[in-house]
């Protein structure tokens, strides 16, 4: 038997060999042709056009076409955005059409330390526009619309402390004032009627959040949350604040930015570290250390800073311990002390306030206003509740309860709310039991505050 009978295979070999060759070529082409190379060529053409000297021209012509990436080990991110966005650091590209536009205002957030996606979100490792911008299936973090970019500041900075993020601060203020915490937990503080909000910014889109505030049951069928009435700028602000709640735990350097030296932060530290145990402010406090009201007149800021670093070094024999404050914390405390003569600052330390005023803070802290209205004036709807389908106002609560009864009511809550129509589903909102969350002293202050709500000289007549 000779080769003759296998000759018929030669054609097949040729055809299949060519097919494999074509497929390999196709695979190579798809691998080799990447849209970002076009953007790089566009950039190089623009650089060549702008070149003023032959040297610059040569330099531009010799720019290699290659992938750019910012590796951020601490953040566990690799951002390849600059592969297309080549001119982010070149101000002369200001206003240039994307992807070659300049990125303004990055002095304090250098790209090699922060990359891009930590603020803008999206998919840093990707190298095609759609994938990188994250608007693809199976990617949870699409780019944040520029309108809401301040939400990202909240990952590292306290919302209220950042002058560059007024919308974020406004959002937080709204969150606290409106009383979202009455039903929702954030950072472990709040009620349990609605879902926790710690990661809401990573789970929900801006559109969803906006819808949710305007008409909650439209996106969450059966939701008992009352629709919120916000002005247009305010709804953006509160959505933005929600978007900032990503639950991301940023490491080291980034987390340290949480403390921006400011009066607010100083006041928080002052309260938290218990300075008032030894020092007197506004007539309250301990007698071990000096009175601090006018400390700003006596000491220079440098002295204070040194004192926070090591009390003994500027005040030999001092019994004040070394707290091990970070530089930022020491600076914040210094700021606070320098402003202590300002009455407003002093009075805003909770331990220095009168009980009803402290109670107002408690009312605010736990979001009571979310259900009972600002200053307990009521008016918040609760579908099918016997009390006129509304959550009761608290203005005259002092007439129906003793202080001990009211305290017990707050601690135990009331799970079952009487229905107006027994045929319909029971009212969605109820009084949570605050016993596990609220501190005992806070409850006392809160009760004092609630009793103080009754307008002077008014009586219901019973």
């Amino acid at each position: 038997m000779n080769d003759g009978s296998v000759r018929k295979f030669y054609g097949w070999f040729t055809a299949l060999g060519l097919l494999v060759g074509v497929l390999v070529g196709l695979g190579y082409y798809r691998d080799e042709y990447r849209p970002w190379k076009d953007y790089q060529r566009q950039f190089i053409r623009e650089e060549i056009r702008r070149a003023a000297t032959p040297d610059q021209r040569l330099l531009a012509q010799n720019t290699p076409i290659q992938l750019q990436q910012i590796i951020l080990p601490e953040l566990n991110r690799v951002d390849r955005c600059t592969t297309c966005h080549l001119a982010v650091e070149d101000p002369s590209y200001g206003g240039f059409p994307q992807p070659l536009a300049y990125h303004p205002l990055h002095d304090q957030h250098p790209f090699d330390k922060f990359g891009c996606t930590i603020c803008h979100r999206g998919q840093g490792r990707a190298t095609t526009a759609a994938e990188a911008h994250g608007n693809v299936p199976h990617w949870d973090e699409p780019m944040l619309p520029l309108k809401f970019i301040q939400a990202s500041c909240g990952q590292c900075h306290e919302a209220s402390d950042n002058p560059a993020a007024p919308q974020l601060a406004r959002g937080q203020e709204l969150f606290e004032t409106v009383g979202c915490r009455g039903c929702h937990k954030l950072d472990g503080v709040g009620g349990n009627i609605g879902p926790e909000l710690d990661r809401v910014g990573a789970r929900r889109s801006p559109d969803w959040l906006r819808q949710h505030f305007l008409e909650p049951s439209a996106v969450t069928p059966g939701s008992g949350m009352p629709p919120q009435k916000f002005s247009e700028p305010d709804i953006d602000a509160i959505v933005l604040f929600m978007l900032s709640q990503t639950g991301a735990n940023l490491p080291g350097f980034y987390a340290s930015m949480k403390v921006i030296p400011s009066v607010d932060e100083g006041r928080r530290l002052f309260q938290q570290k218990g300075c008032i145990g030894c020092h007197t402010v506004d007539g309250h406090g301990g007698k071990v250390g000096p009175v601090l009201d006018d400390v700003a007149l006596r000491r220079k800021p440098e002295w204070m800073m040194q004192h926070f670093r090591d009390p003994q070094s500027v005040s030999p024999g001092s019994v004040m311990p070394r707290f091990g404050f970070t530089e930022a914390e020491a600076r914040a405390l210094t700021e606070f002390l320098l402003h202590l003569r300002d009455q407003k600052v002093a009075l805003s330390i909770p331990s220095l306030m009168a009980p009803p005023d402290r109670g107002r803070e408690v009312f605010r802290k736990y979001g009571c206003a979310g259900c009972h209205g600002p200053e307990g004036k009521g008016g918040v709807p609760n579908r099918n509740a016997k009390t006129a389908q509304q959550i009761p106002a608290l203005t005259f609560v002092g007439d129906s309860y003793t202080k001990a009864e009211l305290k017990k009511f707050i601690l135990n809550g009331q799970r079952d709310i009487a229905s107006l129509d027994p045929q319909l589903p029971p009212p969605p909102l109820y009084m949570p039991a605050w016993g596990s969350t609220i501190k005992d002293a806070e409850t006392d202050d809160l009760v004092d505050y609630l009793f103080s709500l009754k307008p002077k000289g008014e009586d219901l007549g019973f």
């Binding site: 070999f13 299949l16 097919l19 494999v20 390999v24 990707a126 190298t127």
Partner: protein, 428 residues
């Protein structure tokens, strides 16, 4: 007739000193050289110098075993390349998948090839088993080779299943969670078995490490060894099975009564049955080129098909694995979806009894079905009973798999694929 150029180049090279030292026999010109080409080559000598015409018929074997073997080769090749980039760590594995897609040269195509070849291998090993069953090819003297085949089938499933976890995306995480949960339903040993597989009670870093070690060392080595034994036994049992009428594949030779007109090595006569040695059937052709050409052609075909899939369709990659966000429904890999469907009726019966019975029945098949008739022919009439039973089991398995794959939606409820199910608002 003019000699084709590649053949001339080859012929020239094979005649040079270097060529001779490598190939020993150049391009075979005579029947003697055709035999020598097979016997003297390490790579080729696992195959006989001459092969029965029946074995070359594509309509008989369909090349299914060979296709499975080629897919295994492709998987080893692409798998090694992937190993250069892969890190079996829960924090890095997923990122490495993204890097393969976006920055590694040809990374995506290679991953696609690996993925599609893996699915195809499971499919073709199954088809190969069906072929062997329907042609009665597991019958004497090939009983144990069938058992090795069953073990190879299980190893293939194991390879695919362990590989499924490695991308560390949602698909991987939940498929393995579901798959190992099914294993956990076994009585007594189930929970221990699951713990052993996962190195814990849930899928995590320990599971990833174990699956990786199994996937890249243990199972491929086992599969490679068993493939070698599988092929070697095919050879020793006289090549592919064929009907009794096409020249008995083996002959029984009474011990001690060796033919005196020829001399044989002891190795060929170590057993009572031997390959065709006593006769010199006209029905055989030289393996070179008749077998080798067909094998090479089939290899090209398989490569072309896998490349075609890999160039045009990307392997799935979902969100990074997230233990607190189970997809609904969470599904096992497709070849276990029949099982998962059964489990949805009864965890014990579907997850334990049925698969255990099936595997046992498969492994014991050649010892249960001991009739010698009907070997080497498709759907032999003598085997109508066996074929019917097998077909029914197969049909049920396929139906269950199809139901589990396309007709099951959220909460394993019945859905019709051509109608979109009510959306689960996840809020994006």
């Amino acid at each position: 007739m003019k000699t084709p150029l590649p053949k001339r180049i080859w012929g020239w090279f094979a005649r040079t000193g270097v060529g001779k030292s490598i190939f020993r026999v150049g391009l075979p010109q005579s029947n003697l050289e055709r035999s020598q080409a097979m016997v003297s080559s390490f790579l080729l000598h696992v195959q006989p110098a001459k092969v029965n015409r029946h074995s070359l018929r594509a309509s008989y074997s369909l090349g299914l075993g060979l296709i499975s073997l080629y897919l295994f080769f492709i998987l080893i090749g692409t798998g090694v390349l992937l190993m250069f980039y892969y890190v079996p760590s829960t924090t890095q594995a997923y990122d490495r998948m993204k890097d393969l897609q976006f920055v590694v040269s040809a990374g995506l195509v290679i991953r696609n090839m690996h993925r599609w070849a893996a699915h195809l291998m499971v499919l073709f090993v199954m088809l190969h088993m069906c072929r062997v069953f329907y042609t009665g090819a597991y019958k004497h003297p090939r009983e144990f080779n069938w058992v090795i085949g069953v073990l190879l089938f299980l190893t293939t499933l194991g390879l695919s299943f362990t590989g499924y976890l490695l991308p560390w995306d949602q698909l991987a995480f939940w498929a393995i969670t579901v798959g190992t949960n099914i294993a956990g339903y076994a009585p007594f040993i189930g929970p221990k078995l699951k713990f052993l597989m996962l190195g814990g009670n849930v899928v995590g870093q320990e599971a990833l490490t174990r699956f990786y070690a199994l996937h890249v060392i243990v199972l491929p080595a086992a599969a490679g060894l068993m493939v070698a034994v599988h092929l070697w036994r095919v050879r020793k049992d006289g090549g592919l099975s064929r009907p009794e009428t096409v020249g008995g594949s083996v002959q029984t030779m009474p011990q001690g009564q060796l033919p005196t007109n020829k001399s044989y090595g002891l190795m060929e006569l170590a057993r009572g049955t031997t390959p065709q040695v006593g006769r010199d059937p006209d029905d055989e052709v030289f393996s070179w080129p008749h077998l080798i050409f067909r094998e090479l052609l089939l290899f090209l075909l398989v490569i072309a098909f896998v490349l075609f899939l890999a160039v045009f369709w990307n392997a799935p990659l979902e969100e990074m694995a997230n233990a607190i966000h189970p997809p609904n429904p969470a599904k096992a890999p497709w070849y276990f979806l029949g099982l998962q469907e059964l489990v949805s009726y009864s965890a014990f019966w579907g997850g334990v009894v049925v698969p255990a019975l099936l595997v046992t029945a498969l492994a014991l098949l050649p010892y249960l079905d001991r009739g010698r008739r009907g070997t080497g022919r498709w759907f032999a009439r003598e085997r109508a009973m066996a074929n019917t039973i097998f077909s029914v089991c197969l049909a049920v398995a396929v139906a269950l798999t199809i139901i589990g794959t396309v007709f099951r939606g959220p909460n394993w409820s019945w859905v019709v694929p051509w109608r979109t199910p009510p959306a689960i608002t996840e809020g994006r």
